[in-house]
């Protein structure tokens, strides 16, 4: 419907002059129209219409064309043609049609022929400037009324808009219009990046002479402020995003929100607000500007949360070192994301607009619209889903180690309570872990040991032991409905809580682990077993530590749940008292005998493991002691008697050898009983003999004997014959006192018979070794002399051996590859 302006049209719209007109004017109307149209030709900057219009021409930035000042005659003609507003409006509509044709022709031609890739924003701007200058200079002489002038400007602006912003290059289909910026917008974005955000990386040769004010006022004059704002927002977000990726990824051990805010305040916001102050529709005051700042910070927080969601599993594993990161995640997720903020100053309340609204209104930038979806509720849900997903992938598979899962579980509890102190998210993320833990067979043992072992080096779950110690203030947590309903501090559960959400159940680590199982009994049994073992290994009857621990457990599991353990502890305490009384009666002659007295029905885990094999004969002196003790007991505790459990307990013995050397041992009763048979007995004993004598299984006897062989007290003559190692015992003591254990280790070599032959000489080896380390080669005679000089007489008496024995020993060392012999000299084998 674009009809070029013509003389006929003008004649048609412009009424015949009145008489008055005729009298005041010497010209006829036809002539006036010709003159005016002639003046307005060609309705577009001539320089842009030249046939040789090229990239070079644009780049040369020729001064914009201006329409030359009209002559008096033309001015008169214009006045007579555009006499009143009606004439002017009709004229503008027609004039617009002419402009449209030229405008569209030009851009069609421009997009078809120009190598757009070579154009930068300043090239586009040159064209825009040329066009706007041309029309401004052309319109100024028409003396249009404000209304007509405004109409004209709007028309021209919409031509710019359709050709720069909407019009797409011929190659692009219509569908892509909403997804891709036009070349112009791309160049504008690039320009803003370089000149506004000072991105020198994008264009290190940016031209400082560029007149930003001219550029922005011009763009705003053709009504592109909304587009500039959009690009500014896009760019800001992009920059914030890459700043966060670069500066926050994997960094969880220090606060970062302040750095982010500073970055926005110093790097993003100043540029943003300067341009916004030109381009915003509203006359922005400082406080409204602050709305944009707040929104940028909020955007940054959303961005940070998105990053943290991706990292959540690692963050949890990194706990407690990630506490700072977790706390900031909590801050980002809990800051109220609404706009009360702005309403604090009443006079600003009408500025309902803000960045977030702006962004969400920009439906043609779909990725920006996502921000509105990323509300806190969405992010909380996403956080839970991501974590649960990663748990399944990384942790909750059949090959996982129970301790690792428990550790992750406790870290999850602590971390998620930071992120969400109400525990709603925690409740959701722990459910799959709890389900998994319930299937692990070893979980009870792991938890029980974790709770009771205070040794950091051996307890992989030391956190549990610490947690148990922290329990002091907590009263018994029996799960009861009555208690719940009496809770005065009751508040409704948060809206995203699951129906059976209960904070206490998930937030307390121990309670949380225990409650995986429906009944406490399984734990109580394990505690009873573990404590039973400890009480049996306890040799000073001091149950203070165990009692203290039991009291902590009672706080958790209930006071009356540990009847068996109470009886066990009482047994040990009473034994202590009784031992004092009864041993006082029977005198204190050696050996010192005392016994723990157990109520046999209440020590199942200890006594069930005993068999007939444990019922061996005691050394007679101990048997006598026990019988005396038992009869004292019977007379003291009327109606009761004792039954001895020979295999339990601990024995201190002192072995003294022929050479006055004594050694002390603390051993199990079976070992004590075995070695007692060698008392004052220099002949060898067989396994069979010992087994019969002690009524002990041969297996147990053999095990006991090899213990004493290992200690150097006995010698193994054959597999079944043993004898006291009188000399060796002396040597062993010396070895352990003066020589590095490597030597003793080497002595226990496999070839016992040869070893035995040189046993007495082995004391020489360390001296020999250090000698040869200092003097590499030594003939036998030198060796002998030096050894005599260096080895103290009380360690080895050379009078007891002859030279050939020493020589044999040295040769044996050669065979053993400790020494080697070259040219009749000994040296250390390398």
């Amino acid at each position: 419907m674009e009809t070029p302006i013509s003389k006929d049209h003008i004649e048609w719209v412009i009424p015949k002059p009145t008489l008055n007109d005729l009298s005041s004017s010497s010209s006829d109307i036809d002539n006036d129209i010709d003159l005016m149209l002639n003046h307005l030709q060609p309705y577009f900057p001539p320089s842009l219409l030249q046939n040789n219009f090229s990239v070079n021409q644009i780049k040369s930035r020729l001064a914009p064309d201006k329409v030359s000042d009209p002559s008096q005659r033309v001015r008169a003609a214009i006045r007579s043609c555009l006499k009143d507003e009606t004439n002017q409006l009709e004229f503008v509509r027609l004039y617009q049609n002419s402009i449209s044709v030229r405008f569209n022709e030009f851009f069609a031609n421009f997009y078809n022929s120009m190598p757009t890739a070579q154009l930068v924003f300043l090239d586009y701007f040159h064209i825009i400037k040329t066009i706007t200058t041309y029309y401004n200079s052309s319109l100024i002489h028409l003396n249009l009324s404000p209304l007509a002038r405004n109409l004209c400007t709007r028309n021209i602006n919409s031509l710019f808009y359709s050709n720069l912003i909407i019009r797409q290059n011929s190659k692009n289909s219509e569908q892509s219009q909403h997804q891709e910026d036009t070349y112009f917008l791309q160049s504008l974005r690039e320009f803003l990046d370089v000149y506004v955000f000072k991105n020198t990386l994008a264009n290190p040769f940016s031209d400082n002479s560029v007149n930003l004010i001219d550029i922005f006022t011009t763009l705003i004059s053709i009504n592109l402020n909304k587009d500039i704002n959009q690009l500014l927002i896009q760019l800001s977000i992009q920059k914030i995003k890459s700043f966060i990726i670069a500066n926050c990824s994997g960094i969880w051990d220090k606060p970062l929100l302040e750095t982010i805010t500073e970055f926005i305040q110093n790097e993003i916001y100043p540029n943003f607000s300067i341009i916004a102050s030109y381009s915003a529709d509203l006359n922005l005051t400082n406080s409204v500007n602050n709305v944009y700042l707040y929104d940028l910070i909020k955007l940054a927080q959303l961005e940070l949360v998105s990053l943290r969601i991706k990292e959540i599993y690692s963050i949890i594993l990194y706990y407690p070192n990630s506490s700072d990161g977790l706390y900031e995640l909590y801050q980002c997720l809990s800051t109220k994301f609404n706009h009360h903020h702005y309403n604090q100053t009443p006079d600003q309340s009408h500025h309902s607009t803000n960045l977030i609204n702006d962004i969400t209104n920009l439906s043609n930038f779909s990725y920006l619209a996502n921000y509105s979806l990323k509300s806190q509720a969405y992010q909380r849900a996403k956080l839970v889903d991501t974590f649960v997903d990663l748990c399944h992938k990384n942790l909750l598979h059949s090959g996982a180690n129970t301790v690792d899962v428990i550790t992750t579980y406790t870290k999850t509890i602590k971390s998620f309570l930071i992120i969400d102190p109400k525990g709603v998210l925690l409740d959701k993320v722990v459910r799959p872990i709890r389900r998994y833990l319930k299937t692990r067979e070893d979980i009870i043992i792991k938890i029980v040991h974790g709770l009771l072992d205070d040794d950091e080096s051996s307890n992989e779950l030391i956190e549990l032991a610490k947690e148990l110690r922290r329990a002091k203030a907590k009263t018994s947590k029996k799960r009861s409905v009555v208690e719940d309903s009496l809770d005065m501090n009751w508040v409704p559960d948060p809206i995203d809580a699951l129906p059976d959400f209960k904070k206490g159940k998930v937030s307390d680590i121990i309670e949380s682990l225990i409650s995986i199982f429906d009944s406490n009994e399984i734990f109580i049994n394990e505690f009873t077993k573990l404590f039973g073992q400890r009480l049996v290994n306890l040799h000073n009857y001091d149950v203070t530590d165990i009692e203290e621990r039991l009291n902590l457990l009672k706080l958790r599991f209930g006071k009356n749940e540990f009847t068996t353990l109470d009886i066990m502890i009482k047994d040990i305490k009473e034994s202590k008292v009784l031992n004092k009384k009864l041993t006082a009666r029977s005198g204190i002659q050696a050996p010192n005998f005392h016994t723990s007295i157990l109520s046999h029905l209440f020590w199942p885990t200890v006594l069930e493991n005993l068999s007939e094999n444990d019922n061996f004969n005691l050394p007679p002196e101990i048997n006598i002691k026990f019988e005396a003790y038992n009869s004292d007991y019977t007379s003291y505790m009327k109606g009761r008697s004792l039954k001895f459990l020979p295999s339990l307990g601990s024995v201190k013995i002192e072995l003294s050898f022929n050479n006055k050397i004594t050694q002390n041992f603390e051993v199990t009763p079976d070992r004590a009983a075995i070695i007692s048979l060698f008392d004052d007995n220099s002949s060898e004993l067989s396994v069979d003999f010992i087994s019969k004598k002690l009524n002990m299984s041969p297996y147990m006897v053999s095990k006991g004997l090899s213990f004493w062989v290992k200690e150097g007290v006995l010698l193994e003559l054959t597999k079944t014959l043993f004898i006291v190692n009188e000399d060796d015992a002396e040597e062993d003591v010396l070895h352990s006192a003066s020589i590095p254990s490597a030597a003793t280790l080497a002595n226990s070599g496999s070839d016992k018979s040869i070893n035995l032959k040189f046993k007495e000489l082995e004391v020489l080896w360390p001296y020999l070794k250090s000698m040869l380390e200092n003097i590499s080669y030594l003939k036998f005679e030198r060796v002998k002399t030096l050894l005599k000089l260096t080895v103290p007489k009380d360690k080895f008496d050379f009078g007891t051996i002859d030279d050939s024995k020493l020589e044999d020993y040295l040769d044996w060392l050669v065979d053993e590859e400790k020494l080697e012999i070259t040219q009749q000299s000994y040296k250390l084998k390398e």
């Binding site: 050696a590 005998f593 109606g639 039954k643 459990l645 339990l648 003294s656 009763p669 060698f678 009188e726």
Partner: protein, 136 residues
Amino acid sequence: MKVKIVEWHGFSTWHWKLAADGDANSSAYVDELCGICRVAFDGTCPNCKYPGDDCPIVLGSGCTHNFHLHCIVKWLEQDTSKGLCPMCRQIFTYKESYPDMTEELANLKTLIDGHRVMRERYTEDNQEFEAFEEET
């Protein structure tokens, strides 16, 4: 080599001596249960937590039946027991092996004596009645 045992920390279990011969080597008595509560003697009656001194046993002397002290007291407190052993219905008496009488044992003694008095009165009445009958 001399072996000197300096100290021996052993472990034992205690048991009520039930059999008169005091055969301490036999482990058969371990399983013997109180005829009233069906719990082992070395355990506790249903009302006690700690076995042993806190919940002693009583050995029958009239018959061979033994009970937790608390169990037999509870039984004898009922008039319907008539002072009889709940297992064999003989008059219940016990071995007074404790020289120092505890309060609980004194209570048992009172109950047994009470039942004896009741029995004697009943027999006297019957005899009087019989004598009266004979007279008429």
